[in-house]
């Protein structure tokens, strides 16, 4: 076993400092060492998107990022979307539109949808489908998921 490395990062707006093994992924680090179990490991090979997080403003698969690569970076997980106890409009829209079945892929879906709406306030259905193409739902509940993102889009535009 290699000696652990001390890293600091910002997780959901809070500075954190912790010791990591270089071979830990960011996903393992967040789930096991920082106790945030929203992000899920589906495939572990960057194919399914269930582990998606926003790192320095970019959507990434955290199962392929090594823990020390996250040093100094700003990381947002599904847990970081709610503000003052209120769910993010994207989260609320998934609930209201019934955009989930077993729920395993949803943390990644919501992060991908949030990332899309951060960059494009009025995405078309095609743009929504493209933005979520790296997120697999094995319940195949895609239609409701797209409807949830459309609902979030409408609500955010109405504000």
């Amino acid at each position: 076993m290699m000696p652990k490395q001390l890293i600091s990062l910002t997780l959901n707006g809070l500075p954190r400092e912790l010791a990591v093994e270089p071979s830990w992924t960011l996903l393992e680090t967040v789930r096991e060492a920082l106790d945030l179990t929203g992000p899920k490991e589906g495939c572990g090979t960057g194919d399914c998107g269930a582990c998606s997080m926003i790192v320095d403003g970019r959507l990434i698969t955290s199962c392929l990022m090594l823990a020390p690569q996250a040093a100094g970076r700003e990381i947002t997980t599904i847990e970081g979307l709610q503000k003052n106890g209120s769910l993010d409009p994207v989260q609320q829209a998934f609930i209201d539109a019934g955009g989930l079945q077993c729920g395993f892929c949803i943390p990644g879906m919501v992060m991908a949808a949030r990332h899309l709406l951060d960059h494009n306030r009025e995405p078309s259905l095609t743009e929504i489908r493209e933005a979520l193409a790296g997120n697999l739902c094995r319940c195949t509940g895609y239609t409701k998921i797209y409807e949830a993102v459309q609902l979030a889009t409408e609500r955010m535009a109405a504000r």
Binding site: W24, G44, G49, R58, L59, T61, L66, A131, A133
Partner: protein
Amino acid sequence: MRTFEYHAPQTIDEAVRLLQAGGAAARPLAGGTDIVVQMKESATKFPYPEAIVSLDRVSELRGIDFSESEGLRIGAGTTMADVAASPLVRERYLALAEGAGVVGSLQTMNMATIGGNVCNAAPSADTAPPLLVYEAQAVVVGTNGRRTLPLGDFFHGPGLTALEPGELLAELRMPVPPANTGAVYLRNTPRKQMDIAVVGVAVALTLSGDTIERARVALGAVAPTPVRAIAAEAALEGQPASDETFARAAEAAASQDARPISDIRASVDFRRHLVKVMTARLLVEAASRAKGNS
């Protein structure tokens, strides 16, 4: 994942020194979308790394710039997303933006780098055919300084490159395409995203009126490395930009330039068929773009 030493140099020189010191047991890490997967599955195409030299803090490896005299320069650590979105790339090297823009998912493109795509040396690498038609040069840095070689000489086989132990791909350079050049990249995949090319084709045509002055054709996933389609190019240059010419060149690409294998993605016959159909269609598109209809 099995354990390893982790280094995070901040300069190219420091990275090269670490790679040199680590020898064959040290590997550079860029976006991680290939090497981390291989390490997790203990399926690296090289001995499992004892030391990882992460390039994510080496800012001089990132960036895209263009000048009329030097052409395009892309740092090897530039992400696929940045290459695909760059106005500098899109304006004169559109086929490269098209290649970079289809790699995996958005998440993949936000992590994966163009240098990683080249150094992983998959025959199906989506940036390789466009880089070949733009006549890219690979700038390699080692402890003895820099050397530059044509990208065609960089690929030695599946997963094999011209890099010596301790060497690092620093950047890719492409000359300014001649006036009246149109280029395009397309791949065939069963799925639109999160898939690997069954066949990839890039074409660049330079027209003088209706005559093809210069032709560059490159193929992915039909040989041990991405390859230039020399027979197709010979069938195009000096000829009229007509459907007949394009059909002859497409036939040459399929029967002479492509040397495919049958594997889980497609048979030899289907790959040749794809090369023929795709090359013919892309020649039409490249000619149209060369006339300013991109």
